[in-house]
Symmetry: C2
Subunit: 141 residues, 2 copies
Amino acid sequence: MKKTQLYKIGELAKLAGVSVDTIRFYEEKGLIAPHSRSASGYRWFSEQELEKLRFIQRTKAVGFTLNEIAELMALKLHPDAHTCEEVKNVTLDKIDQVSAKIAELDKIRHSLQQLAVACDGGAHSSQHCTILQLLNSDTPL
Amino acid sequence: MKKTQLYKIGELAKLAGVSVDTIRFYEEKGLIAPHSRSASGYRWFSEQELEKLRFIQRTKAVGFTLNEIAELMALKLHPDAHTCEEVKNVTLDKIDQVSAKIAELDKIRHSLQQLAVACDGGAHSSQHCTILQLLNSDTPL
DNA sequence: CTTGACTCTGGAGTTTACTCTAGGGTTTAA
DNA sequence: TTAAACCCTAGAGTAAACTCCAGAGTCAAG
């Protein structure tokens, strides 16, 4: 048997670093659901919902919408062979999206690093330069 | 002399893949500004504004808000030594933000790839697995 | 057994980032 | 020279993702 720790909405909110309103909003949108309800109607959440909330926060931070996040969370491999090809195609699409985001961030990071280095007061410190120029040129400095 | 191609708002919108309303909205927010205005009040935009629009689109796609993008675009290295340390600190903060986003996307991509491989109907195809389990475990399959 | 912290529902309000409309002037091609 | 296709401003409307509120029930401590 595995121990099933349950949290009230306020506890879960604190652990996940979101507001109780946000949790109820996500429930309404179908992103998470309470494990159960108490006799008086209080929501009980499991560890799994905490993981989902953390996943949502981190995934939101890299530019996915709640709808896209719902799609990501819906990607499940299970014994139903019928949907396997389907799941795979969606997954491959998502990989492309994620790869494109990473490539973009790498470019931005590279430009920022060039800017930081130039800021060191080195040989180029009297140049004029912006992140846009760094992004759009191979030899900006 | 460098040739300065100028665009009307509609031309710029088409080239950047945004609406004319979006361009005017960005101008209002201070993200871009027309190079000049015609006698009749028409905006004229330069190549530089086109680059800015493209930068905004790509940066928005990786989870930055318009305010954050404005900050990024404001990072300029120029001959005023007084602000150099300042610029560098902001730049280093941004690099950290960007690096964190990349790390997060790498984790998501890795999980998606495991899911795609498992979808191939290989040895693990009768397992039940979700992206959350893949993210939260080292040996999910 | 009451008081304060918590929870519930339903609905209104806010912020961000557009998007659209109205009512007008401008450009350009036929 | 006129009509389609563009541009202008000001302001209203929309979608996503919260955030806040009112009015009421629940729970745990003293």
